[in-house]
Amino acid sequence: MTVETRYTRADFQSGQEVKWCPGCGDYTILASVQNFLATLEMEREKHVFISGIGCSSRFPYYMNTYGMHSIHGRAPAIATGVALANPELTVWVITGDGDGLSIGGNHLIHALRRNVNLKILLFNNQIYGLTKGQYSPTSEPGKRTKTSPMGSLDYPFNPVSLALGAEATFVARTIDMDRNHTAEMLQAAYEHHGTAFIEIYQNCNVFNDKAFQLLTGRSERDENRIFLEDGKPIIFGPDNEMGVVVGVDGAKIVRVEDVGIDAIQIHDSSRPNPGVAFALSRLSHGPHGPTPLGIFRRIQRDTYGDLMVSQIEAAQERNKATSITDLVQQHGTWTVE
């Protein structure tokens, strides 16, 4: 495109020193987001970033937009208030696997079902970074950390499955190192009217280095990234020799030559029924083998905010008596001489 964009990345840099560990995946995501926002026409002052607490949640400090670094787990609730107060804003939620899925799990699933107009970016590094390395709700079972010296006993969430189970209208997954894919997902989330949820795999090189090696390593990644693209058969592998079929028993990975290309599932994120999206989410549980990346689900449903506005408008249409005196009058009064 040759359109002049009004912003450059620098316009979105707050000037505060960025304080992540050198090499942290958060830097990459920060750059992707700043670059992406600079491509938009949307005025800078209309972006609001709300985060909780965690390394990832420092994000708003580095964005030259409105923002709040709130408290642990509560960003989806606070952001809901922002979005409902001013529908003109683009409200981004920045959260981590601990912030968003551990302490903040409830607010997250309720925001998803309500379809508030939020863009939720969950930086999943499968660890608590800020508190120096305890297991999180996405850590693999058996993970040894200081609070689980003999291995974690927790069975992890699959954030995509959880979001789908919570009636999300937009669910995607991407990975820090793949900036183009990240940009694509950001664009789609931005365009989605409703709650958009993106799980972003993010490397914590200090406490959980190489957790996503299978998806980023030069020699492993082609075998393990399953890109979901609408209208295309779900195939992957260095030579696209692998594919995904969906049937009476859920989704399965097959060799394309074993089933023939016609049996391969054609991806369609817009299916009203989330059953297939859910099935696809079960192909991986953490990045321990072939893992789908892309948009699992993207459907339209009324947003909470739009419904709220139309109820208020309808009420105002119907009842124009809006002074306190009117209120009291309707309640009933009497007079003492």
């Binding site: 505060q16 670094h69 107060a85």
Partner: protein
């Protein structure tokens, strides 16, 4: 109807005040009977105060003590302050209602009983061994009985109402009988029935007929010669409405938003006895208000904080358990210095406690229930209608000082009604608010933590405003820039600045007024919904020759600036509270005043007599 007993009624006994309590099973419609009686008394021009008392939140089995529901109304021909201590008249629809309420009836009071319900099954459920109507145990009362169920059945026979529904109308029978006894106008009742059910529906007709039957029963039955007349109250002239604390609070918030030119945003999670504020405001969408029923209390205050950040007048409403849950977010509101009103309609604690009963035991958590040094202003209304003014005042302070504010109401205020002389709504105190639109620093820099010289408030720049982009958060802020700062001196300075901002509000609120004679040796200090009982108790004491002064505090943090000086004037300071002495402890800590605490923790308001008794005791004690 027994025509043959017709006889001319005795002339009505004149009384200047009477307290009537309707009590029955929670299914018996006592709240309805009580509130209808209240309305027709209001229409008649009496002054009044009410106190509905529900059982536990859940419907209890019929006929048991746990299931008793009551509604008390105090009507008078002069300005009254409380719902009345003891009942002059008790309407008892069943044995349990009698048993649960008997202790509150004045000796010699009138007890009106639905005799049909005093069968062995109900007596047993209520835990009676014998039948109090016949065993002489009610000898010190004036007991009257009416076969309310039997007569109701007969009255509604023609209306088409059938089966179990027939007895539903018995509350209207009782209402009719009491209306006759107290000379209430019947039209307001007829009109209400018509409006509510239509007089052409079976239910409407049944209620009407039952009411008439009760009224006529009084009129026609010889036994019921005992009628009262209460003259219209000498209320100051003006226009009145009858209002509960929760309603007044809701309206006050709406009025404050209007006055400030802001949108009202209420994020809340239902909890007794606060829910009806949310319900009231949810009805007012035509005022442009936004209400949000959140997934829990933490989200309730969270969405509100988000709305505050975005420029709305943000409120969250709850009761004790919810206050506990909102504590962490309140602390964030304090650190981000955003305006936010937390309404706590107190109930009896701790834990789930007695959720439908009143208490004032959240003062300490309101003042101190946040980690770190975290002062916030705390206000409390003194009566249902005062909740309107206090709500506006809470909004004014929150907006002017950019701070979260806690408003401590309670279950008694919240559900109790009183006639409210309407202020001139066009002349309400203006609340001026401006969102920042321009940089306030050198070279176009915006300082989100620059403070107003007078108030100490920081500017309120809302998302969407070009050029003022900034970040707030829970980490300590650098003065001016609001950037994160770990500097030791900055932390001390900011902690002091936050405290000073709240303390400084003392200069912006009215001084307290001392009520009572100049020669008083004893000062009574109260707060919240005890105002009425305490004032009445103080009046009694003065009448009985015990000169006593009274100060009622509506601002609990900071205290009014003249309070210290007033406290110092009295040799004895009595602090009656529906808790174990919380305000008392705060006054001691702040002013080293040797207060005496009068504590009542029974899930029920003070009686004026309890206050008077304690005053007398203290004044007679020369030690």
């Amino acid at each position: 109807m027994q025509e043959e007993t017709l006889s001319p009624p005795k002339p009505p006994e004149k009384k200047d005040r009477v307290v009537i309590r309707f009590a029955g099973d929670s299914g018996d419609g006592m709240q309805l009977a009580g509130s209808r009686f209240t309305e027709s008394s209001a229409a008649f021009g009496n002054d009044l105060a009410t106190f509905p008392d529900y059982p536990a939140e859940i419907r209890a089995p019929q006929g048991t003590l746990a299931g008793v529901s009551s509604f008390q109304v105090h009507i008078a021909d002069w300005d009254i302050l409380t719902h009345g201590d003891e009942a002059d008249v008790l309407v008892a629809m069943n044995p349990a209602a009698l048993k649960a309420n008997l202790r509150d009836v004045v000796a010699g009071g009138l007890i009106l009983v639905n005799e049909d319900s005093f069968d062995s099954r109900n007596l047993e459920k209520a835990g009676y061994d014998g039948n109090p109507l016949t065993d002489g145990s009610l000898a010190s009362y004036h007991v009257m009985t009416a076969p309310m169920e039997k007569l109701t059945k007969i009255a509604v026979a023609e209306t088409g109402v059938k089966g179990r529904s027939v007895l539903r109308s018995k509350n209207f029978f009782a209402l009719g009988l009491i209306s006759w006894m107290f000379n209430r106008p019947t039209d307001p009742i007829y009109e209400w029935i018509d409006k509510k059910f239509g007089t052409d529906t079976p239910v409407g007709q049944a209620n009407l007929e039952a009411f008439r039957a009760g009224f006529n029963f009084g009129n026609t039955t010889e036994e019921f010669h005992h009628t009262y007349e209460i003259l219209p109250a000498k209320l100051p002239s003006g226009t009145y409405t009858n209002i509960t604390g929760n309603q007044a609070l809701a309206w006050g918030l709406v009025a404050a938003a209007k006055s400030a030119g802001l949108t009202l945003f209420l994020g809340s999670y239902p909890i007794t006895p606060a829910t009806s504020i949310l319900e009231e405001i949810a009805r007012l969408k035509h005022f442009g208000v936004k209400t949000f029923q959140a997934e829990d209390e933490i989200a309730g205050v969270g969405v509100s904080l988000g709305a505050a950040f975005t420029g709305h007048l943000a409120v969250t409403t709850t009761s004790g358990p919810g206050v506990a849950l909102k504590s962490e977010t309140m602390s964030l509101a304090l650190m981000t210095e955003l305006p936010l009103i937390l309404v706590d309609v107190q109930r009896a604690g701790p834990s789930t406690g007695l959720p439908t009963k009143v208490e004032q035991s959240d003062l300490m958590i309101a003042l101190y229930g946040r980690h770190g040094e975290a002062p916030v202003p705390v206000l409390a209304p003194s009566s249902p209608s005062d909740a309107f003014a206090i709500a506006m005042e809470a909004a004014r302070i929150a907006l002017k000082y950019m701070t979260p504010v806690i408003l401590l109401s309670d279950g008694y205020l919240a559900n109790g009604a009183e006639p409210w002389r309407l202020p001139d709504f066009d002349d309400l105190p203006a609340i001026s608010v401006s969102h920042a639109t321009e940089p306030n620093g050198p070279e176009g820099v915006f300082y989100p933590y620059a403070r107003d010289e007078v108030t100490g408030a920081r500017p309120w720049a809302i998302p969407g405003t070009p050029g003022l982009e900034h970040r707030v958060g829970g980490l300590e802020k650098e003065a001016l820039t609001g950037n994160v700062s770990y500097d030791p001196d900055n932390h001390e300075m900011m902690t002091a600045a936050r405290a000073a901002k709240i303390a400084g509000i003392a200069n912006d609120i009215p001084e307290v007024e001392v009520y009572g004679p100049d020669d008083a040796k004893l000062l009574v200090v109260s707060w919240g919904s005890t105002f009425g009982s305490v004032r009445a108790g103080v009046n009694n004491a003065n009448r009985d020759g015990y000169p006593t002064a009274h100060v009622h505090i509506r601002y609990l943090n900071p205290f009014p600036r003249n309070l210290e000086e007033i406290l110092a004037r009295y040799s004895k300071v009595l602090v009656p509270e529906m808790n174990r002495g919380q305000l008392s402890a705060v006054l001691r800590a702040q002013y080293l005043t040797p207060t005496v605490s009068l504590s009542k923790v029974q899930g029920a308001p003070f009686m004026a007599t309890e206050i008077t008794k304690k005053i007398v005791e203290l004044l007679e004690d020369q030690s």
